[in-house]
Structure formats: C-alpha cells, structure tokens
Symmetry: C2
Subunit: 113 residues, 2 copies
C-alpha cells in the first residue's frame, strides 16, 4: 500500500481525565512496527468535548469519520476499523462492517474535498 | 483569491423535516454571482442526525469544522463565517470571530490531512 493511502487516525489528547492521551498511547503500543495500517496523530482539541474522548479517521479522497465516547479499551477495535477503512475505496464503511464496540460511535462524517 | 483556496461548505440535505434542504437553497440564493466566497455542496447524510441540521466547512490545508443545530435562519451568518474562515490561514477561527448565532454550533473539528 503506498504511503499516501495510509489513513490518518487523529486522537484528541486534551479530553477530560486524560482518556485521549491514554488511548493515543495504547494505539501507539499496538501498531505493528513492520508497517502501520494507520498514521497515528495526536490533536490538541477537536472541539467535541461533549462527545467525550474523540478520534477521527481520514485519508485523501475519502470520507472522514469522527468518533466519540471512546476509551482506551477501544484501541484494538479502532485499529481493526482502520484496516477496514484503509481497504474501502470511499471510506464509507457501513456500521455492520465496524467492530461492534464502534457501531454507535460516529459523531459526524465529512466528504472528501 | 485562487479557486483552490475557496472553502467548501457542505450542507447535509437529509436531516429531519427538510431543514437542511431549505438551508442549502437559502445559501445558494445568497451567494454573490460575481464570485462565491464558498463552493456550496450538498451531502446525503453526514451521520450527525442527533446534532440536527448539519453543515461543514473545509479547505485544503485547513482545519475542517462541523456545525450542528442549524436552521435556514443561519444562512447569512454561515456566509459571514465562511468569509472569515476563507481569510484565516489555518481555518481555526476563534468562537469570538464567528457570528454570535454560530458560537456554540461546533460539533467537532478535524485537522487537515
């Protein structure tokens, strides 16, 4: 997979009680060293504080998805979802194709520019 | 302003009771014919139904902002905000620089890829 097709997974690290920072660290520990399925990035405030711990997945030419109400326990499922997203041509992964813990997590989605 | 710098304003036209479609039409009627400050686009579902009528502004290299709880009455203020956003280097317009009706409207924001 060319590097430009690797999705970015942005994790808000400023959310309450440090859950975002813990989630970011857990994701980093789970990424396979031989070639990550996502580029992990930290963000200072995604302006979605009422949604709790928040992350977003995006890639050039694809829909971006913002997910809320996350916790450190979602880290493995987020990477599973990222792999499905990476393989999907538009990024519009149906809820039924997401891990069950993430089916109700979408805060919003945004078309590619 | 080169066309590539014109932000896109996506309006979800599938939200309840047709408010998104009315907002999209109102925005279209308000855009100046001599050169719009935004490229207006309609979207079928932004997956943010609990936020009510939703729109998003984005531009290459800038933060994207998703706004919810909108109505057709927000159309003029959305275009005012779009002009401020277009002129802002990163798109991270402070709430105090947004029209008052839009200061509490942000559902989430997303960094540029």
């Amino acid at each position: 997979m060319p590097e430009r097709d690797v999705p970015s997974l942005h994790v808000c690290i400023t959310c309450r009680e440090g859950e975002g920072a813990r989630l970011h660290a857990a994701l980093g520990a789970l990424l396979p060293p031989e070639g990550p399925v996502v580029t992990l990035r930290e963000v200072t405030c995604m302006a979605s504080c009422t949604s709790g711990c928040t992350a977003a997945i995006s890639a050039p030419g694809k829909w971006s998805y913002i997910l809320g109400a996350l916790s450190v326990d979602h880290a493995p499922d987020l990477l599973t979802y990222a792999a499905v997203y990476a393989a999907h041509p538009s990024g519009a992964v149906l809820p039924s194709r997401r891990p069950e813990s993430l089916r109700q997590s979408v805060v919003a989605r945004l078309p590619a520019l």
